[in-house]
Symmetry: C2
Subunit: 192 residues, 2 copies
């Protein structure tokens, strides 16, 4: 099994490279997954995140009512799925029909299989930010990554197939995959 827990103090590194994400949530038996590029780290310890979620998003009330959401980092092989998850379930009621979901141990929240990493977040309720800016803040309470591409607290893309690289969406169907890695502090402990 290549999915391993990520230390919470290093969870921000999953978000630091600015990949496009998928956000999932569940309330009262209803699941959804949406694509979201406007997600980022907010704090180290406890780890916090921001996510911009429009008022028309089907996922938004699922988050508001359950107080929980998950951020996942999809990979290049999932680009078509990411575009599909950018369509609203209001318009496409069956959008999840072919999306492989799983439930992590200890949390009643659906996650998308095949991603590079997953972060389960507890909503920190901030009515002003949510209403005025569509801005949601969450505390990361658990995180996992595929250790074939994130290990020892660092991304490890250079020895992995290109299909496992993270996605960085521009607009109009245009994506970039993450590219070449380099380290300017060679000799530093890669676990740092």
């Amino acid at each position: 099994m290549s999915i391993q827990a990520v230390e919470l103090i290093k969870a921000y590194r999953l978000l630091n490279i600015g990949a496009t994400t998928l956000i999932s949530a569940k309330h009262d038996g209803v699941e959804n997954v949406m694509a979201a590029a406007w997600v980022g780290a907010l704090d180290y310890q406890p780890p916090k995140v921001t996510a911009v979620i429009d008022k028309i998003a089907y996922t938004r009330p699922l988050i508001e009512k359950s107080g929980c959401f998950a951020i996942q980092i999809p990979v290049a092989a999932q680009a078509e799925l990411v575009l599909a998850m950018g369509e609203s379930r209001h318009d496409h009621p069956d959008k999840l029909a072919n999306v492989p979901l799983f439930y992590p141990p200890g949390f009643d929240i659906p996650l998308v299989q095949g991603c590079a990493a997953w972060l389960v977040c507890r909503l920190i309720n901030e009515p002003h930010n949510q209403q005025a800016h569509d801005l949601f803040i969450g505390e990361v309470v658990a995180a996992w990554a595929d250790e074939r591409i994130f290990k020892h607290g660092h991304w490890q893309f250079d020895n992995a197939p290109d299909e496992w690289r993270t996605l960085h969406y521009v607009a109009g169907g245009q994506f970039y995959a993450i590219g070449k890695g380099f380290n300017l502090k060679q000799g530093s402990n890669v676990d740092d």
Copy 2:
């Protein structure tokens, strides 16, 4: 001259790929530049951004007092500079000595030469976010990009030298450059 104005409605695309940024500001004749990975888009029109800026950052009071900051998107050739700008001016008073700055027309704010793009932002004062979360919100009032790598509203890395690719910082000196591009909606108008 390869620096061209970016339509404000498309300014979010400069941030969408999640590159690590430099934030600059100036107050009362004092300039500073800091590295910041936790910067992202918040809205389309008017375009807004979020930026996480620690209370110990030298740049923070320059922003609070001037009500203005600039986000710039550095490129791979500037990776050493980005790491250097990650050190505080409190500890390195001369950190800007070798940083080539310029002033854009119409704004009294220093920008770093050689970046891929620049966004000048007016601070939207939100005391709770700033105090509780170190979270700053700005409205983008002007944006420019190097049209050799951002043109017609889209990034154009695939025909540019690798040194012009955006940087995506992990931790401990580890960076990735943005990689290969692809479009899943071939035939769509690239100006969309």
